[in-house]
Amino acid sequence: MAEDDARAYVLAFENNNTEAARFASQTAQRLQHGECKLVDIIKATGEYLQNTDPKIRERATNYLSAIISALPTKTLTRHDIPVLNLFLCSRIQDGGAIDGLSKLQRLDRYSKENAQELAQAIFDNFSDMSDRKQAERYQVYMLLNELLSNHRQAMLDMGDGSLLGYVHVVGGEKDPRNLMLIFSMLRVFMIEWDVSKHVDTMFDAVYAYFPITFRPPPNDPYGITAQDLKDRLKDCLASTGTLAPSTFPNLLDRLDSTSEVVKKDVLQALAACASNYDPATIAQFSIPLWDAVKFEVLQAQEPFLADEALNVIKNIAICLSRKASPHAPEWKADPLIQYLKPINKECLEHLQEPASRQAGASGDILKAAASATARSFEVVIKAIGPALFSLQQSSEGINNQRAILSVVNKVFEASIEVYGSWTAPSEKNKEEQPTLLAEFKDRLLAIYSRALMSTVREEVSYRLAAAKGLLLLAEQKHLVDENEIGLIVQHFNEIVLDEESYGRDELKQRVMQSLAQISQSRPRLITDITFPKFIARLPDDEDQAAASKDYQSVLEGLAEISVGKDLLETLIRRLLNKLDILVQTSGQQYPYTCAILSTVYYVLDRSARDPQLSLDSYFQRVVVGFARKAASASDGPLADETVLNLLGRTVNLIIRRSSNENKDEAAQNIYNLFRETSSNGAHHTSLILPSNVLILSTWILAALPKSSNAGILGEPLIPLIRILRKQADRNTSTKYSVAVEQACLKQITILINKHVSKQEDIAEVERFFYSAVECVSGSSSGQAEEGERDWHCAVRYLFTISKACLLRLMRFADQILISLINLLESLPPEKARYLALGFGTLLSQDEILSKVNEAQIRLLAPQRVFQKIVPMFSEHFRDPKATQEQKETYLIALSGILGSVSSDIVMPELPTLLPLLLQSLEISDANQNVKVATLETMMVVITKNPDALIESGHIPALTRRLVAAATLPKASRKSAKASAAMKTNKSIDTTMTDAPSSSVSSSSPKTRQLALHCLTLLPQHVKDQKTPNPLLSLKREVLNGLAICLDDPRRDVRKEAVDARARWFRNVDDADDSDEE
């Protein structure tokens, strides 16, 4: 029976793997149930196992392996395993044997002796694997690895035998997958075996791979990066201090490499060694290491290398602060002190010239050494603390003083790292000892305060260093008491409030940030000292505000420091009180009122980032209170559009974050605005007066959830939409206000997008749309200005409906787009142009119809609209009957859409779009928005998808058009100068701009700047490996063209031209040329 199975298996193996596996498991089952014995199976297989054809032998071995793996772990007896093991070991070179052995050694009854036997067999048979395939080698290494993890003691008992055996087998490996395995095995040997007799062997086995130069192939399926290999190799090198006599000299040699990558690897390996080796070992090498590594900081060529080197310096100090192991030799002196002594000495020497480059680097070194541990901080501060004070006294010149403060600031940072800050304790200071800076505290505070407050304001960097230092002192744990921080806060207040603005106001900004930081951990100080001072600076009314002007920075400061809950509430209460007074005044403009409202909104919005926070407490005070006031105001701030918009925004935020009851109350009062004398039911006809208040209604309506059914939202919506439409129209005929019309239209979008849900209502909306289309397409009767205004209003209404429907992808969305494009084609040019502007609104970001206001914006809506509309544009554009004017109209519409969708949506349509985009760069029209939108799209195309550009073959065309768009024609260059000279004569200016630009199309500064920026981006991104650089043939032409742009009258444009030219000079090379370098 067993013979049958064996034969069947061997026969089936080649053609049918599953069938073969079935035979093997059959045998295994029989074995398990005691129907046959292992001896019988081997006997039965014997014929094949002895065969001279290696293929047949392989099948037989496979058969055995398959049986082993199909058996439960306990079936094979203590007698079976050694037999099988011995047999497979003797056949280890045959295919399948390794597989069987690796299954066998996982069995519980696999003994120590078996494991050693197997290991020896591997050592004997696989001493040279250079002619084997990667996968085969991998299998052997896997088995070795498993032996090491499953039978560690057996391997350990083999002593040097296993160590040398392993090292020998794995030597010469090059494949990254295998190396990952090998490095982790070698690390085990380094840590658990006694390698002291084999230092050279072990070191060579590992160090042969240093530095790793592996570069993964593109689309590497194994996902092994160079960094993975580097990390494993580094861990190997750092695993045992026994290797130190080899590791350190060799690594330090490599530090002289010219390659920055190699240097980085060396420094990282050194840092890893320093943190893993025994202190006694590191102590032997600490001085030579310092001597070599310091150059990487003192004469750093690259900041990242300096950081790595500092890390080495720090890790050595950490290591030497540990207690040496008991059996280490006794040291005459403390190794940490021995190590830090030359560091302190050398740094102090460099600090004698405080402003020099190496003095700055010395500060970094001292910080690295001091921040290692509390002990090393102590050693460093004792050595350099007093010296720094005397330096500070003896150095002359602000530049030197500034440099000293910067170095001391680094010591402060080290102190925080070691001893902890006012908010967080440090791991390195479990006993919570006070920082050693305490000894110098009073002197430091005096020096820094004087530096900050008694220096002229022109010395920005000096005072910046002082301000930074004071904050760092305040942040120290258990150092500065409340009163002293209070003093610092007062200094900062004075700078923000009393000093005049200077330069970029870096100091004011830094100090303001510091106050905000203090406010987070010491709010009481800010409440007591800063807050009242700032509030007192706020003017009482618009007139005072206009005179002082600096209320903006005060408000900004107040917003910045009011981070805690209490401070925030106090701030809003105070600001609202101010507002109560301000809204009762009257005037023309209300910038101060707006500024206060902005601050209220900003602060509320910032705190509302916490999703749990409710703003119910402000509902009565702000929503009800101010809405009621606005409802009865006919002039003054609350009738002003800007003020109402800001108030609306705030009200919107509060309603969204209020309870459902409050939301319902708001819904009842969309138009009534909480007026006490509510005329029930009358709200439909006499919407509201004054009409400006509609702005507020819009924001309230927008804040209500989709599900809301209260008030007007519970009634039929269609009549309301009609009323709003009339209101928008009526507004047109009487006193016209853009804001009121917009408010009406916005309300219509909200209603259609969010609240219309019944089928018959949707059908009604569709009818609205078609009648709006008709209204726009029909020739307006009156020639008068009024007729035109009505028509414009109709267009805006049309797009209002379209947007609301498109965003929720109503079922007639496609018809909407088709109708709009047909209108674009059929209208006379003047009107079509106006219509084209509307396309920009369709997908644009909208503050009212937005996600936070729960508008229905389908995820796929932008994509669907874009994909539908672009082919239609393209088709109309290529239509031979299309006039130039029509083409331009399409481009305006297209640019509107391009400006409002994300680049992910644009990219797939690029092949269709590119020709259109190129055309729009040529558009002669004065409408710069088209060009701006096109150039902004081009910028994205160049950075994200340069390959598509190269493939399209449009690069020369694009480049030339960009140069043309960037260049100001000679005539207008002169005129710009002329107009600058004769600025007083305004009439010349207007004739210049109104004149039809027939011969030359002059670009606006923004267009020129963007075109130049595109040109800057081209050399960076357009690089083709296969073909010669497509930009090369354009180089001369572009450089000449750019030379003219260098003389642009606008400075920003010139700057961009300089950058573009530099790029084209040096980054446009032939691929071969750059390889030679």
Partner: protein
Amino acid sequence: MELANANPVVLNPSDLPTRKQHTISQGADGKNASIFTYSVPVNSTDPFFQSASSEASDSDDEYEAEAIDEQEIYDLVATMSDPEHPITLGALAVVSLPDISIRPTIPNRPESPLKTVTVLVTPTIQHCSLATVIGLGVRVRLEESLPARFRVDVKIKEGTHTTADEVNKQLADKERVAAALWNPTLQSFIKKMLETCE
């Protein structure tokens, strides 16, 4: 390679001259962007009403033509880095604003567009062997970045270098400059100096 000056004095970037200093008045309303952007009326994003409001502020006529001045020249060269250190020429005070001047090329016709830019370079130490390279780099940068109507004159500042005369002669000699720029070592030096310019 041995450094000519391993340990130069470095200035803090906050202390270097910038254009902002001259235009304090403009900064007052621009900087508060974070809080006060909300005061902008809503219709500013509406394309139907946009064309009327924004175009005017963006046209050339609203602005005075901004002539190329010393600060602009300074900004061009101050961001270049020293060939020895990753530190800018501005921070090393190799170039400084007072040492840059722009004069009409033809003295008796000041209204002519032809201008001469003179930049005086102060090497970090008296015997700096790289003074010529720095001078050359500054020259290349300015010739690339200024319109053709500008003549560029780069010199070592008097009394700051032991062989200033010889270096100046070299920098003024067009043919020697052109020849030097073919030298691959010099090319790579200059490339490195210009890397930090953007």
